[in-house]
Amino acid sequence: MSIDLSIKIGSMTMKNPVTVASGTFGYGPEYAELIDLNRLGAITVKGICPEEHVGNQTPRTFETRGGMLNAIGLPGPGAQGFIDKYVPFLKQYNTPVIVNIWGKGMDDYGTVVDMLDGADTVSAYEINLSCPNVKEGGSAFGTDTDSFSRVIELVRAKTQKPIIPKLAPNVPNIGKFAKAAENAGADAISIMNTMPAMAINIETLEPELANKFGGLSGPPIKPIAIKLVFDAFKACSIPIIGMGGIFEPEDAIEFMIAGATSVAVGTANFVDPTTIDRVIDGIEAYLARKGLSAASELVGTVKA
């Protein structure tokens, strides 16, 4: 029995459910020698805003027990820089490209889509409304349903391509945001961005990150993400891209059972670049073992 691993995020077809978490995979070339980019269901690139952005001072990351903190600060080449430097590389692959976008103010979200939308290689947009590392840049939008909805509507008006708001995890009721995203015209949502967190050096009394705060990622956050995906799945009918500590195929499968249609491998890329391949193979082997013929059949099958 052949297994159909393909899934759809709006009008975008992914050959399998697996993408990468924005910020953990650069813009494509960085992991290209280690990972076959054609194997991925989609490539989600590092967050892009309209202009070049410097990002934070160093130290930008800090290893914690079981995971890591990052406060990279969304540095990037800007939309034009992305088109010039990376689109020619990415277009060589038959893997759709999800561009993660952010802005310092609401208008920026529209501007960056305007600048990118003409590029065919840009297949979809993931809208970062939840980055804990930048004073501007979305975190406020991710925690207030009104401005959240307005940003999504703004982006919706700018493009026909699939748009995927990325939700903030530190909200009491993620279902509200999931539903608001759907109502505002989003094709899917992604859950979760890093959890706001901090570490302090007890010898120097200084925060370990130059930005003081950062976001926690890796295995510690998976149980948090699973619940958020579960809640969002119950609250809305658009597909969910689930991420947060996926290190093994079993993790990805758990996300899908909870309600994720697609899954993203993030921090695990740093630890073991074979994770993507193992997850794709592992999902397929699991489906075969369970007598399922398509990845989509697994989505939201949790008995709860």
Binding site: G23, T24, F25, G26, P29, E30, Y31, E33, L34, K46, V54, G55, T58, P59, R60, T61, E63, R65, G66, G67, M68, N70, I72, P75, G218, P219, T267, N269, F270, V271, D272, P273, T274
Partner: protein
Amino acid sequence: MKQEKATVLEHDNFQGEYRILRLAAPVVGPMVQPGQFLELQVPRLGERILRRPFSIYQAGPEGAAVLYKPVGRGTDAMAAIQVGDEVNIIGSLGNGYPEPDPNKLPVLVAGGYGNAALYILAERMEKKGIAFFGGRSAIDILLVKEFEALGWDVRPTTDDGSLGTQGLVTAAFDPWMKEQDIQSLEVFVCGPNPMLKAIGDRAIEHNFTAWLSLDKNMACGVGACLTCVIKRKTEDGWEWARCCKDGPIFESREILWDE
């Protein structure tokens, strides 16, 4: 670069607190260029997930070796590595040192594990020159005999005078530098930041070339995450450059040091 399941051939005390870890790595070994590094996954590190970067001391068709000192959780946990163990590595990484200019006198300046990081360069360079090695005490100066055996004129300096000149490495470098045709020098540096900056400042002031190996804490090691950045000067200011990808080797003039 490749990811490889290397096998431990040797794991011993080397000198002082440093240990040598030699790996059978027939995929990565042959691709190693001077000044490159590995991202090594420490076996059984438990709940600390990131790989640790180590400069490549020796490399060839059969594999590679690193010299490392226990300084924290990962390097401490490496004590448990046994001959025959499998160690997962990604390598070889970084831009490495450029081809030496055959018209210049090569000079090495190193400290800490920097001596190990320069060994492959020193080995493969046709012309041998002077090597200034600095450290706290004799036991901290790695590879003096090994570099001498390659034909290098090694000039050690120690804070406590237990080997060579007493003082920082500049205590030996500066008087020697004054006697040289300075612009004929090409200096390759690997050591603690103050050493890099000291030589870098002299390179700018006296107009010679100095290649500095900058180490910053890393997460991915391959240029994707943007953790390991330094400020690289540009015409109108500066830009971020990744030590793991655009570096770790930078020419002294490129570097905008934090105050």
